[in-house]
Symmetry: none
Subunit: 194 residues, 4 copies
DNA sequence: TATGAATGAGTATTCATTCAT
DNA sequence: CATGAATGAATACTCATTCAT
């Protein structure tokens, strides 16, 4: 029994160590050898804990989502106005912009590489999307669920700008866009409630 | 007298033939052999017309952008209200949704694969982004340039939803999201003008 | 516990196995697949032990030089007259004529193929040249270092005759030329000492 | 008939233009396209005048030999002492050192690349060797034919030093070695005549 | 549990040569 | 005569995965 715990604990440790490696290289271009080296283990060990590269990535997606959700709710207080709650979401996104646009690119990369695979890959990402929608809906308390989707779409659109070379240095632009979104959502919500 | 082939014309023909191939396989996973076979030529011939896989892609990006721009302006009339113009943009995006989300995925894939290359790759995509912004600004005649960016960000966000398995079948959802965006932009613009 | 293989020992074994393969085909024309097949391993294994074709060759040059030096000193006794020592050098060269002209051709081939590379290639061969000069100077105890260079130049000239089709069958001619060289060097040395 | 003369004239012109190209790139690494481009013609034209890369090289070897022989005899006067004649040979070699070591490397390269070919390649080079020996014997008027061989071997040895990075800048060293050779040959010849 | 040696099909790209025009 | 488009087998090198120890 204790052995099992250790195994599980170590597996998670390795898993979390993978994000930076994937982020630095991309899902498609990093090799299992590079991952193993980056983690300080042999390829054999890596395969002892994970059945494949794909599997590492899918487990990582889940694990990170759980962690991010906790982090967000830990820092976001609930007793606020809608505007403040929207601002909290935007701030969280902007604080972790670098991280999230790496994640977005990684996900697209992963989908492209897994093209002819079983479909589990898409299911895995879709599930995260839906849980995000649902968590966000709970937190924001908007009357229109489409508005929640709209926010998620907007944030995805924001992160993907990284491919045009927009990075952490364009913070002001990101801020500006977020303000636009917030004001639009608020106006929309007000209209819906009258 | 050389073998009679209009080099430039044939190059373009091959180039356009590449899009479906890239779209079907992804930039990273398709091989030059597959491209050549798909075009019905030998790898040697492919390299006679293009110096590298990367070059094919970058030329394709430019070429498609020119074509799409012409297509859009050919079908969009200008003597309309803001709402109608926004609707025209949304309609164009939705009509070509399948095409554009393939394009978006392809671009991310390309950026991920070219990670440690010269930066020309990002420059190439960035240029298209800026020309898109500029064309859209001219067409929509919005008073706030940030609003144009917002629209582009939103559309990018929309196309990238493909990674969660949203495809042509979710047309209604895409419509809904576009309506939201249009109404928000209109309200925003009205406020700016008073 | 890893698979039990003495990495270093096996690397050397493979390395020495390469000489005959290179000699039989030339550096430029032999392929990594042919080398691997000739050694009885896969290309993957070959690359597990050596980073590149160039690296195999450069390591081989060093390794062979060490071996040849030991072999020579093992068979050459030192308590002799100058003539006997010169004869020992000539005998060694002639006994291994086949081997040395293969080596000379291989070296030229290698330099030609590496033309626009880093210069490490030439440095590698140059180093062997200088260590040869130095070992020969120690052994022969000639008063004029230029005379040592002269001998090395002559031997290089001799080995390169292979390109005109002179091979092991022309042993008498090689002998004759060596005798000439020996007599000339002796006369020269005698003159220098008076 | 005049057409034939033009054809032949043009062929030679192209041929002579090839040396620098081969010298700059090596026989094995230069491509037919590069040769064609360097000559300012198309590959088709190149193949119109020469059946193959190998053929270009073999024709070039012959042509250059004829030219070099004429050049040498044009500049070397005959009514001199043995020492002066030897000096004339050495001067010629040293003046054209760059050219000759490129040639030597090219020949070796050629032999290595043509390994499994018909043997005509070696025959072609061997023939040049013999004609060189014969021309040199005539000019120098040495009593011992082996001494002529010795000189040619020495010069070949000298030129091949290029692979160790010795180039035009080591002129003094080349001079020194030539002086050694000259003195040795003279002494040898004097002894033979008494 | 952990290692790293071994595999071999697969990658982008090259090149001597041919041949229709 | 001259062109350059076309070929496709061949090149060095890579990589996810397996498995003996």
């Amino acid at each position: 029994m204790p052995k099992v715990v250790d195994h599980e604990r170590y597996r998670r440790e390795l898993l979390m160590g993978c994000f930076d490696l994937f982020a630095a290289q991309g899902y498609g271009t990093i090799t299992m050898r590079q991952i193993a080296k980056g983690l300080g283990v042999s390829t054999g060990t890596l395969y002892h804990y994970f059945p494949s590269k794909e599997s590492i990535f899918m487990q990582l997606v889940q694990e990170l989502f759980e962690r991010d959700l906790s982090t967000f709710f830990a820092q976001a207080s609930e007793a606020l106005s809608l505007e403040e709650r929207l601002q909290a979401v935007a701030d969280f996104a902007l604080q972790n912009a670098q991280y999230y646009y790496q994640q977005m690119l990684l996900w697209v990369d992963f989908v492209q590489q897994s093209r002819e695979a079983s479909g589990d890959e898409v299911a895995c990402l879709r599930q995260v999307w839906e849980r995000t929608h649902s968590a966000l809906a709970d937190y924001l308390q908007l009357s229109d669920p489409d508005l929640v989707d709209f926010i998620v779409v907007f944030l995805d659109g924001l992160f993907v700008q990284h491919i045009y070379g927009r990075d952490a240095e364009d913070a002001a632009w990101f801020q500006q866009q977020c303000q636009l979104m917030i004001q639009m959502v608020i106006h929309r919500e007000q209209r819906a409630q009258t």
